[in-house]
Symmetry: C2
């Protein structure tokens, strides 16, 4: 069972021939080191990846050196799918930790669609879910204050990790620094620190030494106005 099969199987109940097509894809395993970019903004990308283990982030760099992190990727997520479809990447992808990925060649993927069109639908679904997450992120940055934004971020990430068995309503391990959080949430690192203290003092959550601990998951969700429906991925949508 490759990560790609697990990913697409969540959206479409894959038939035996479809599995065969997917398994026939060339799919080289690669390792990247923390902090060494896989995909560079402005470059014509050749390959996309499925993340096997570790954490990555995708961001856009501003001319003045600021950056906005668009999303973090956790095991099972696509890396650079959009770059590869649009041929030139509009963003950079950087491993947060050392990561292990499976490479996917676009030409192979496009050919696979021809042989098994429902695979195309599955990828379209995966892309739509990613877009829904970016939209929710946009709402947070546009309309939530710093504390709500942080709370929402922590519970969303928790939900995503729970789906892949790496988290629970009690918490999860998280390799992100306060600087990374700041770049993702559109805050300064100093303010991230203050907001984390605030959440801690409110008895909602603690983020310390790479561990997120939910003291009161229900109250935290309420505070963050978190609604998981956009993450729903409970069963294959297409039989």
């Amino acid at each position: 069972m490759t990560p790609l099969i697990r990913k697409l199987g969540a959206f479409v109940a894959l038939s035996a021939p479809e599995l065969t097509v997917l398994e026939s894809l060339r799919s080289r395993r690669r390792i990247f080191r923390a902090g060494r970019d896989l995909i560079h903004q402005g470059q014509a990308g050749q390959a996309a990846y499925v993340l096997g283990s570790g954490w990555a982030c995708s961001y856009k760099l501003m001319p003045d050196g600021q950056r906005q992190i668009v999303d973090f990727q956790i095991p099972g997520d696509f890396l650079g799918l959009r770059s590869v479809l649009l041929r030139t990447s509009d963003h950079t992808i950087e491993p947060v930790t050392d990561i292990e990925v499976m490479e996917i060649h676009v030409e192979d993927l496009l050919k696979a669609f021809a042989n098994a069109p429902r695979l195309g639908v599955a990828v379209l679904w995966a892309a739509s879910r990613d877009e829904a997450m970016v939209v929710e992120h946009l709402v947070g940055v546009g309309r939530r204050n710093a504390a709500e934004r942080m709370a929402h971020f922590l519970v969303e990430l928790g939900s995503r990790l729970t789906l892949i068995g790496m988290g629970s309503t009690a918490g999860y391990s998280c390799p992100l620094t306060q600087y990374l959080l700041a770049d993702a949430l559109g805050l300064s690192a100093v303010h991230v620190n203050r907001v984390l203290r605030q959440l801690r003092e409110m008895g909602l959550a603690t983020f310390r030494d790479g561990e997120v601990i939910f003291h009161d998951h229900g109250r935290l969700c309420a505070f963050a106005q978190f609604d998981a429906s956009y993450l729903d991925q409970v069963k294959p949508l297409l039989k």
Copy 2:
């Protein structure tokens, strides 16, 4: 030539059989009035649309009544494609003006993919481009100040309108109110007003009486740090 064919033809050079498949789609023409939602947040949507004429916007409503506009749609854009793919809509779509749309049934679309897999690729491309726009929007709200954000918004919209022959580097007509701009840019309506004045006084652009006028398009782009590459759609990507 239906709007759907024009849309997908921009991404994939459509063959005769593919055109036949697309033309065979049931595709009812419908009219919606300004302000009367087509697609409601939380509802299970049955149909997606391609916008024929008029302007629409998609937004998310917060429990406290605030809203964040995610994007505006102009003629040729999809409405509610993501809602329909994910089965339940995570956002609302509202016509800004009276609009004319062509309805697309999802089942038809999915069937079309089976007959002509490259159509699936074309839709995937269209979705990726939409996602790229949301990402750019996120960057603006997260990392640009109010004036840059407004400037960027105005030139981006101008570029999109130019692609469909409804704008130029001189300007365009724009039915959006300052309240809509505020909800899109994550600002207050009052501040939108001040920022527009600032851009006017800087000799960059004027937005008044439904007309956006670029006084100095080059300088405005520079000020906004606008880079159109994510909008690139000059020629079909797949032959």
